[in-house]
Amino acid sequence: MVDKQNSLPGPEDIYREVLPNGITVLARSNFNSPSVVVAGFFEAGALFDPDEKLGLAEYTTAALMRGTKNRTFDEIYNALESVGASLGFDPGIHKSGYHGRSLAEDLPLLLDVLSEALTMPTFPKAEVEKLRVQLLTGLAMRAEDTGDMASMVFDQILFKDHPYGRPEEGYPQTIQNINRYDLVKFHREHYGPRGMAMAIVGAVKPEDAVKQVKRALGSWQVKGQKEAPELPSLKMLKKTVSKHHRIAGKSQSDLVIGTNGPRRRDPEFMSASIGNNILGQFGMMGRIGDVVREKSGLAYYAYSSLNAGLGPGSWEVTAGVSPQHVKKASGLIVDELKRLVQEGVTADELADTKANFIGRLPLSLESNGGVANALLNIERHNLGLDYYHRYADLVNEVTAEDVLNTARKFINPDRLVIAVAGP
């Protein structure tokens, strides 16, 4: 049998090195499959987007692989796809991410393409215009997607006058406002090695991985890489705010109900996670799933989620219901939020969720991608290389009282956002 504790990443098998230019490399070997994952983040997120050019960070990431000083768009993808490799960028609010994979033998190629995309994109005009139509089509599809729109309306209300209230992909008008020079300028001002992290997991020795990163990105230097703007303080809700965004002709409505949540580094994070699991995840979607799906048959999906990142988070319940059942489902969900802050959780529920958190850890770390995410999670939130070895203790020390206090701190059932999108 494979030893459970030893299969979790820890200080003895995670190699971490900070390169002289600021890039942090985390590497862990796995020779069970001949493939390798390269993933990470860098500090050019949508926080830098001007309001009138919202979507600029995303547009920039989408354009990185449309041409570099060394290769055309077609050459970039020909190099990757002909060997079954892939690479993509994923824009975020604070930081943007990248994710690639290949056979281990093609890791040098993957890193070369990543390096070119990050350090020497050319933003060819014709490609920028093609992308504009693709982004606008994506926004037209978003406008018809009940889930996307309910979530967007929710964020707009919860994070009013705060950058988190802005959709990272922008609006049709703001995408129209962006020109090629904006992309060039955004790249020049915000892309750089400072604050960048990279995890390499797979069939490669850590020292070889680091050597290859040094070769591909070690000489990258950027002067005057801008600091991210400070986040403004949050405006807290004073009462429940409801909004129904109409989308005609749809057969189902989506609803998102919730409020603020902790930051990832806040001391309440673990107790909030446990409370959230009991509320809307454990088993078949926790208490929410039990009431909305199992007992009432109102929805195929009804669950809660805790979004905790670098800044203030959100705690939300999502459900897809028939348009005539929106009110009934909303009522049931709000009742469950009330029950959580009034009664807290039972000893059995707490024990179940703790066992679930600890037991499922090896499953989430099964693939190279899962391990890479875990390493980046450690780096992003400064959790310590021994985090996954300490994890069980962190879970076990949470009490029912902690869960109740945390729920009360964040959830006020009279001050919620109720966002609906549908007919």
């Binding site: 079954g84 037209a140 199992e294």
Partner: protein
């Protein structure tokens, strides 16, 4: 035992495939039944998928809310899915907890209760699942294209079933379907991960071998006659975006032509699981701004099914122009021999995708069983070899044989853009 793989059939007909993989302290266990939407007649469409839902509603030993909690408490993940040809259930658990999954599957192979109340609440859950799918233009279009491609064969309808049937099917319909198809001789169990084969086999025999075999359920298979002439259809719905799907009749996954056709798919629309920006259709349609997205794919099925190309039309283009360019590319692969490099690239891509799949124990157990549902495990094991044997001439021959305009369905989703 070869390649850490053990295959055995128990005395009641249950086929068991076990693969030891000692890379992580995890075991994934799958139970497969040879029943899917192709086993449904009109009036009962969606019944296989509904039965799958009812399998989570409990037995006397594992009542509904005990079941899911027990799995979650042990840190497992579990789910199920219904497809055209089969229904599958899986649990991936920490290795020392897998016994729960074995006991659960043995129990619900025979003892699910199908209570009336549970049937009633699940009816509206499934209708909600269908309504959620109907929100998606590509679901609506795909459903219309599929039913146009199959007039006779039961691949005609979507797995979720028609609303008319979801409203009217009864508890007894569901229970009868369950009892008829959920017999050990109609099932395959696949387990992969961190276990010892001999002791695991002993435990599986203890739990499963006493379940009596049933009558072997006959499968519905009304052969689809050849399509005589192209079918064009359109549906309308909300939005501003136009979608097109083009479906060609494809052979069964076990047919030798399936492999050269996989290369055709890879060249036209890109290898499954990878980006497709150097595929022929991306270059001709997206790069040249006829479409903003193209994808293609076939399913692995027992009987001949369809290969579908899906397009999101560029806002400045008409569907007709886009289809004309698509046809030019299809004709090119029919008329000109592809380069040897194109084939070797397609094979290298397949090799890489294979490597990604084997990173994960759950995936390995999945493929052990999935391949059994439309062929057998050797289909999966020899997949790369069969692809490697494909020649440029094979590619040209199958492109001509299967990509005929007169045997395809072309469907368009016409956006109403605010019009009533």
């Amino acid at each position: 035992m070869t390649n850490n793989l053990t295959q055995i059939t128990l005395s009641n007909g249950l086929k068991v495939l076990l693969k030891e993989i000692h890379t992580a302290p995890i075991i994934s266990s799958w139970m497969w039944y040879r029943v899917g939407s192709r086993d449904e007649v009109q009036g009962r469409t969606g019944i296989s998928h509904w039965v799958e839902h009812m399998q989570f509603k409990g037995t006397q030993q594992f009542p509904a809310n005990v079941l899911d909690k027990a799995i979650s408490r042990d840190g497992g993940s579990w789910n199920a899915a219904t497809s055209l040809d089969s229904t599958r259930y899986y649990e991936t658990m920490p290795a020392n907890k897998i016994d729960l999954a074995f006991r659960l599957e043995a129990d619900r192979m025979v003892n699910s209760q199908f209570n009336l109340d549970e049937v009633a609440s699940e009816r509206t859950v499934i209708i909600s699942e269908r309504e959620g799918a109907e929100n998606e233009p590509l679901f609506l279009l795909g459903e219309a294209v599929q039913q146009a491609a199959f007039r006779v064969h039961p691949y005609h309808h979507e797995v979720i079933g028609d609303l008319a049937d979801l409203r009217t099917m009864t508890r007894d319909d569901l229970y009868h379907h369950y009892r008829r198809f959920y017999v050990p001789n109609n099932a395959v169990m696949t387990v992969a991960g961190d276990f010892d084969t001999q002791s695991t086999l002993v435990r599986i025999r203890e739990l499963f071998e006493s379940i009596p075999a049933g009558d072997q359920p006959a499968r519905l298979a009304r052969e689809e006659p050849p399509q005589k002439g192209e079918i064009r259809l359109s549906i309308e719905g909300p939005g501003k975006t136009t979608y097109v799907q083009v479906a060609y009749h494809f052979p069964a996954a076990s047919h030798p032509d399936f492999f050269p056709l996989t290369v055709v798919d890879s060249l036209l629309a890109g290898a499954s699981g990878l980006s497709n920006k150097t595929s022929r259709l991306y270059r001709a349609l997206v790069d040249k701004e006829y479409a903003v997205h193209v994808s293609g794919g076939a399913e692995f099925t027992i009987d001949p099914f369809i290969y579908t190309i899906s397009l999101i039309i560029h806002p400045r283009r008409k569907p007709e122009e886009v289809i004309t360019v698509l046809d030019t590319e299809i004709e090119r692969i029919q008329n000109e021999l592809v380069l040897k490099k194109e084939i070797t690239d397609a094979i290298k891509q397949a090799r890489a995708v294979f490597a990604y799949r084997t990173e994960n124990i759950t995936n390995q157990a999945f493929w052990l069983g999935y391949a059994e549902m439309f062929a057998d495990y050797s289909w999966f094991e020899t997949y790369l070899d069969k692809l490697s044997a494909v020649t440029a001439k094979d590619v040209q021959r199958v492109a001509n044989e299967y990509f005929k305009p007169q045997s395809r369905v072309v469907g368009t989703y016409v956006p109403l853009d605010g019009k009533p």
